[in-house]
């Protein structure tokens, strides 16, 4: 008999009936199974190392923020040199910025997505557009801030304002909308378009009546995702419109629309940065509270987007 790694097992061969012997795992097979199990656990461990601390940290932050979390924390303005009160003014500022950035980014992004998926031919120009979209997504946020400062604040003469900050955010989040629009349009089967073309419809007519209605919810998912991106960014608005503190009316309808397009504003992300690094004597619970509100806002918007997406997938008809 040839000497194999299984020799040790073969020595016991006589003790076993031949059938059992035949199906007994060899040493090699056993070590292979062991390696498989080890690999599985190691990969699971790596995943958990990433995921679990985040849950722990979020839980810890909520516990630390618990003393201040209440509805009045949301409704009140920062008071007493930001050492008391709530987050109303920055919260409204964030809404303002997101609203205006959406106003610019959504139409341009959706049309660009339509161009890339429906109109673009496979040539150097399209490749250049794709490269530009990818690069736009990769430009550091602080460079977007510099661009916004140079282009909108100085060159376009907007000054530091909600409008300039929103434009900067719009340019930064444009790739998010473009890519998701493109994916949503790409999911519409080609046969739908061909059927429409065969009836004599033009390309734009097809897009308007067939492609867009069938992908509008997918596009919406991307737009919602943009909202969460824009709401969380700090670096681009640092020099373009967000400031540490703006006095905002406490009551009346002015409390709901405190910022015009040309005013400077507060923003939640900026507010957290201010509380954590710039202001002094801010109680920790207030800082944690602000962080939790910001995170909850963004995770809620994101969750909405993810929920909408999975709902759409579940009721897809083709």
């Amino acid at each position: 008999m040839r000497k194999t790694p299984d020799a040790a097992d073969d020595r016991n061969a006589a003790a076993h009936p031949s059938g059992e012997q035949l199906f007994r795992p060899s040493t090699y097979e056993r070590s292979k199974a062991r390696r498989q199990a080890t690999a599985r656990w190691v990969f699971l461990g790596m995943t958990l190392v990433l995921v679990l601390p985040v849950f722990a940290i979020v839980g810890y932050m909520v516990i630390q923020a618990w003393p201040v979390l209440s509805f009045s924390f949301l409704w009140e303005n920062p008071q007493n040199r930001m050492t008391a009160g709530g987050v109303w003014a920055p919260l409204v500022g964030t809404f303002c910025l997101v609203f205006f950035s959406l106003l610019f980014a959504a139409p341009i992004g959706v049309l660009a997505g339509i161009y890339l998926n429906e109109y673009a031919r496979d040539n150097w120009l399209t490749r250049a557009v794709n490269l530009a979209v990818m690069n736009l997504a990769g430009v550091p946020s602080i460079v977007h801030g510099l661009f916004g400062f140079g282009a909108f604040v100085l060159f376009a003469g907007m000054g530091k304002s909600v409008l300039a900050a929103a434009c900067t955010l719009a340019v930064m989040t444009l790739p998010v909308i473009i890519t998701s629009t493109r994916e949503a349009l790409g999911a519409v089967p080609m046969a739908f378009r061909q059927a429409c073309w065969n009836l004599g419809a033009s390309r734009w007519h097809t897009v308007r009546t067939i492609v867009l209605p069938n992908s509008i919810s997918g596009i919406l998912t991307g737009v919602i995702f943009e909202v969460s991106r824009a709401a969380g960014e700090t670096a681009p608005i640092l020099f373009t419109g967000a400031v540490y503190y703006v006095k905002v009316a406490d009551h009346g309808w002015e409390a709901f629309f405190p910022y015009g397009p040309t005013d400077r504003c507060m923003a939640l992300s900026m507010h957290l940065f201010t509380l954590a690094t710039q202001a002094s004597g801010v109680p920790e619970s207030l800082q944690y509270g602000t962080a939790v509100v910001l995170m909850a806002l963004i995770l809620a918007v994101n969750g909405l987007s993810i929920g909408l997406r999975s709902y759409l997938r579940s009721r897809k008809r083709w």
Binding site: T47, L50, V51, M61, I142, Q194, W204
Partner: protein
């Protein structure tokens, strides 16, 4: 070419001369010629708008380069010492005696924190991607994917806050160092921030490997682990490399978190617990204090230009690698 009449055009609607279109004239409810003209005009306008928006991405990238460049450009005629800018470690922009604008220490700060973050993020990210793509099934897979997506959504200022308030004290307790915001803290936070992008791109790359590869290996008796490291890793190596590069690009460009947790000391780090400062953090910290148009202001824009170039190269490399895969697959 069996039947030339049935050959469809490559893409897009068949190009029929509209004037000769029989539908226009024979439909009983056909719109009047004037209305049709208006519709066609509106359609033209819309398509023009679509083309314009499609090309706007190129426009914006060029605009970013242009506006950052023109703010930095006057340095060239102001006798700015570019050699010092790239080779000196002394960044003393506000010195009364002799302001110095050396960014070497900042660059090394950026690279060291990015490198260390990648040391943590790449194995963990690729491991998690393999687990999610190959081992996890059904509900677990869906939940993990969503969690990774939510991880990506946490804003950088919140990460910075976590680094300052949670990780900092932990580092102080375990190492006994007096300050918790330092290179180590920055690397860990940055690793956690860049992991989601690595996971999602790497997972895409693994998903792109045809199932027939897996089936062939499994039918030859390979275990799942053997499939992963003998078949999937070689087959998806370009995609995985692209994932790593995009993670690097994200880490180099990260600003707020790094500003808050790396400790703000301009020096070349000698140990893990040294505080450092990065290129991005310098811009964020100092632009607000500069006088618009002076050398300091322009030097910060020059740093921005360097960052733009760095991330452009990294992203371009990632893109070329991904293109390479697609090319191979078509061939």
């Amino acid at each position: 070419m069996s039947d030339p009449a049935s050959v469809p055009p490559a893409s897009g609607p068949p190009r029929i001369s509209r004037a000769a279109d029989p539908v226009d004239t024979t439909l009983p409810n056909a719109r009047s010629r004037g209305a049709r003209g208006w519709v066609r005009w509106a359609e033209r306008l819309m398509e023009g708008l679509i083309y314009l928006c499609g090309w706007s991405a190129i426009l914006f990238v060029l605009a970013i380069f242009f506006f950052v460049f023109i703010e930095a450009a006057p340095l060239a005629v102001q006798g700015f010492d570019f050699v010092e800018f790239f080779t000196s470690v002394n960044w003393r922009p506000t010195s009364n005696v002799r302001p110095q604008f050396g960014t070497l220490a900042l660059l090394i700060g950026s690279l060291s924190v990015t490198g260390l973050a990648m040391l943590l993020a790449v194995p963990l990210g690729l491991g998690a991607a393999v687990y999610i793509s190959e081992f996890a099934t059904g509900k677990t897979k869906e939940v993990l994917k969503i969690v990774v997506e939510l991880l990506a959504a946490i804003p950088s200022v919140v990460w910075g806050f976590i680094g300052m308030m949670v990780l900092g004290p932990i580092i102080i307790r375990f190492t006994g160092t007096p300050v918790g915001v330092n290179l180590l803290n920055g690397s860990v936070i940055l690793a956690l921030m860049s992991v989601p992008i690595i996971v999602s791109i790497a997972e895409d790359a693994l998903k792109a490997v045809p199932d027939s590869y897996r089936e062939a290996a499994l039918s030859l008796g390979a275990s799942q682990w053997e499939v992963v490291y003998r078949v999937l890793f070689p087959a998806a190596k370009n995609g995985l490399l692209a994932a790593v590069l995009l993670g690097v690009g994200r880490a180099i460009g990260e600003t707020m978190a790094v500003l808050m947790v790396t400790g703000h000391a301009i020096q070349i780090p000698r140990s893990l617990l040294d505080p450092i400062r990065t290129l991005t953090a310098t811009i964020a910290a100092e632009l607000g204090e500069t006088v618009q148009g002076d050398t300091h202001f322009r030097a910060l824009f020059l740093i921005g230009l360097v960052l733009f170039a760095l991330t452009f190269v990294v992203n371009l490399a990632a893109d070329l690698i991904v293109k390479g895969i697609r090319h191979e697959k078509n061939a």
